[in-house]
């Protein structure tokens, strides 16, 4: 398990680095898709197989394909060149990064790692996730659904203004 985690971690971090450093937007998008699949691997390690599969289907299989589609369709040449960053960005970026790393370190230090193997039977399956979703997390789930509907209506309204 530790070995799998190590491999996945290296892959995930490497692909994430490619996403932000590579000049070619198509390669960035492909690396991001790879990164998402690697994260699905983390879910699997954590016994969350339902989430892992949704991660692949929704993010890697649908959203990233759409993004790729748009990039290829628009053939973004201008993006291939690095944009010059402003003075503020140049100074603020290290600060922001340092703050984020500090927060992460604090969180890891505070939280004890969960005891392994203490999971109930059926943990992470579609059934258990469904049970949780429609009992404990019923209201958040409905609010998120509403948010998505609003987003969709908004998108259609913006895209088809002349409708």
């Amino acid at each position: 398990m530790t070995l799998a985690f190590a491999i996945l971690a290296v892959l995930a971090v490497a692909s994430a680095l490619v996403v932000i450093t590579h000049r070619n937007p198509v390669i960035c998008a492909l690396a991001l898709a790879f990164n998402l699949v690697a994260i699905a691997g983390f879910y699997l390690i954590l016994d969350a197989q339902f989430v892992a599969m949704l991660q692949v289907i929704v993010y890697a299989g649908a959203i990233m394909v759409l993004i790729l589609f748009v990039i290829m369709l628009l053939n973004l040449q201008a993006e291939a060149r690095p944009r010059s960053s402003g003075v503020f960005q140049r100074w603020l970026a290290p600060l922001g990064t340092a703050a984020f790393v500090g927060l992460l370190a604090r969180a890891i230090a505070l939280e004890a790692p969960p005891a392994p193997g203490a999971r109930p039977p059926g943990y992470g399956t579609a059934a258990s996730v469904g049970q949780e979703l429609f009992s404990r997390f019923y209201y958040p789930f409905e609010v998120v659904s509403l948010l998505l509907v609003v987003a969709m209506v908004g998108a259609v309204l913006l895209a088809k203004r002349r409708l």
């Binding site: 198509v26 390669i27 492909l30 898709a33 699949v37 197989q49 339902f50 599969m53 949704l54 692949v56 289907i57 890697a60 299989g61 649908a62 394909v65 759409l66 790729l68 589609f69 290829m72 369709l73 399956t125 579609a126 059934a127």
Partner: protein, 881 residues
Amino acid sequence: MPKIVMDGQEIEVAPGTTILQAALSIGREIPHYCYHPGLPVAGNCRMCLVEVEKAPKLVIACYQPVSDGMVVRTQSDKVRKARAAMMEFFLIHHPLDCPICDQAGECRLQEYAVEHGTGRSRYTEPKRALAKAVDVGAHVMLDQERCIQCSRCIRFCDEVTRTGELGFFQRGDRTVIGIYPGKRLDNPYSGNVVDLCPVGALTLKEFRFETRVWYLRNTPSVCAACARGCNVMVATGTQNLLMTTRGQQDDRIRRVVPRVNEEVNGWWICDEGRLAFLEMQKGERLETAEMPRGTPADWDAAIAAAAAALREAAAAGRAGAILSPRLVTEDLYAWRELFARLGSVRAGVRRIARGRDDDLLIRGLDPRGAGDRGCRPRGRRERAARHAARRRGPALPLRHGGAPSRAGGEGAADRLRGPVRRGSGLRGRHPPPGGRLVRGRRDLRELPGPPPARPPRPGPARRGEARLEDRARPRRGGRRRHAALDRGGSRARGDRAGGARLRGRGPEGGRPARCSARGRRPGRGVGRRGPVSDHAFQVAATLAKILVVVGVLLGGVSAMTWVERRVSGLMQFRWGPNRVGPFGLFQPIADGLKFMLKQDVVPAEAHKPTYTLAPALSLVPALCAFAVIPFGPNVEVLGRKTSLVIADLDGGVLFALAAASLGVYGVVMAGWSSRSRYSLLGGLRSSAQMISYELALGLSVAAAVLVSGTLRPVEIVEQQAGWFVNWNAFAGGWQLLGFVVFLVAGFAETNRLPFDLPEAEGELVAGYHTEYSAMKFAMFFMAEYVNMITSSALAVTLFLGGWQLGVPVGEGLAGWPLWTLQIAAFAGKVAFFQFLFVWVRWTLPRFRYDQLMNLGWKGLFPIALANVLVTALLVAFDVVR
């Protein structure tokens, strides 16, 4: 015997006769360029279009076989218009250079232009300019502008000599004919392409600009260059009209062309025979008599001197003659008689050195004769024979064998024959002036009277003749024609790979079985040792299952490549693969070998890492998706239970969808990394299509899952036990609609017709894999077929009971027989869908892009959504399960 009516005349012809042949049999010619009785039918000139009653369009007479009651019109208005239109097309780029063209006078284009053309062209743009006087071979010159792309010469080189030097290059109106790089049209039959060429595109170097064909007189003859005895037409004539009117004698052989004799030479002759006359006309013959030391003498004196010398030598016992085996029988006989009367028996025929043979026409070509030029002896023995012949020098100091020229030669020859004339009753033979060649073997055989001193070994020649007939017959047969069209009609993307489409891994047998045996053995080995072995057994069993599944899938892929083409052939009245193995069954092996050995071309501009990764990314997800599909029930192996599924996942259905959704990356990456517009468009289309149809697909799966109440494929299948009405598609889940939606979306997800827009060959060459070759190309096709099998297996699992038999299982049936039956049921159901894929391919035309999107978003998506709603209601009110 079908009876047909042609232009009002009723005729009866043999079944299988084409319209064109039927017309020829009653002496009516239907104009044609590409058709030739000695070549497979190509049907690409469209000149022989005729009207057939009840046929919606004009049909090509050279390919359409007659059927009983067919009414054919070869002279109707429609036909005439079609011919005129074709002539206009032919002449669009054709140079009007008849005055300087060698073909003038025997040019089909000329003839048809007058007979069928309109006499005017509407084409005002500049004509295309191509290479003229291209030196393509030892005897042939090519004028690309004059070519009308009838492909006769290409088919000759491909099918008759099987040397394949010529080909079409470029496409559409840029098509030109030419020789392949690094090749030359140097096969020993190259001259025939000149005869075949209906226009002046291919001309013979030895005849170019020699004379006009209308100055020629044709004399039927038999070629004497080898033992075959090909029937030829010898054309003699003057060089031009001026010389004739001046009374100049310039009557020479100008060319030799084949004369059809299906039993001897078919329609062809070899280049040696075609050009043998050049040797005869070199002017190196004995034309005047000479006394020793070169003093000229008149014939009577010379002959008297020769006779005296002979007699003297004979008396001293020093006379002898070595005769050429190519002499006419009568001459050989005369020589023998002469020496017999001189009292010497030393007149013999030179032993025939084993000549050059091939399996087409050339038989025992004498290595010392005309055939010595430019041909390489094949065996060591032949080389040695030729070498020896060279060292010996001319074997016939008496120089008999060539015909004496007309001037003054007559009397001498008569005199020489004199003594034997009375006895033999044979008449002396002379070649007619400039006409007939020396008589060949056939005449020899037919001659009455005594055999020659030593017959010039007719045996092998006759054997060769028989072989020729054997070879000639299938070439004209119907099957052959089908095969040729099969190649022409096969799908264009297949043609990219060189006519045949795919890519396989060999037959289904050996590999999987062997692997499974190897995989299971460890299980037995550790099985006796207690609880640790459970884990080992599971690992071994899983490995075995993986190997079997991958093996069967890849075997199924190679089987599908054969099925696809055979079924396509069935639906299009042609044969499909039929060359390699019985019914072409070994074709997948041949394809597989080809894909492994072909050069792997990578475009220079390609983004190499993604370009290389794309085929694998296409194939691997397709294989992975099958992991969750149960292909049989729980079975007992070596006392332990195991389920016949690689991974019995709780969310198995989702896993299959996830794997399938990743397959699109291979296509998109291939399209993008190739740096080709066609590929990119194919990749774009693919991603849009996959996303659109994934929705309908997912919703139809969701409804099935609603009914089953689980995402675990093993459970879904177990629920559908009993009669087949219990299957989810029927009363078990009322999912017939969902099943249909799944099926349609499945066709789109696998890029199969009618949804194969990502590789639409009419618009995108081959879409996303345009720039791929060899094994990488093959991997895309393997992925397509694996996807077909996997999506069918998923449909079977979700809707059609998986491995369930569809009938209640009786008590008596259990254990291995039952399992085998159930696995077979699963395989059978999946196989049916494979057939369906091919069936639909030739039933529905490809969708247009907007139609595709409309169907996906406005058709399937709402239907699938409604289906989910209705299913949810049914489940909520306990109507199902």
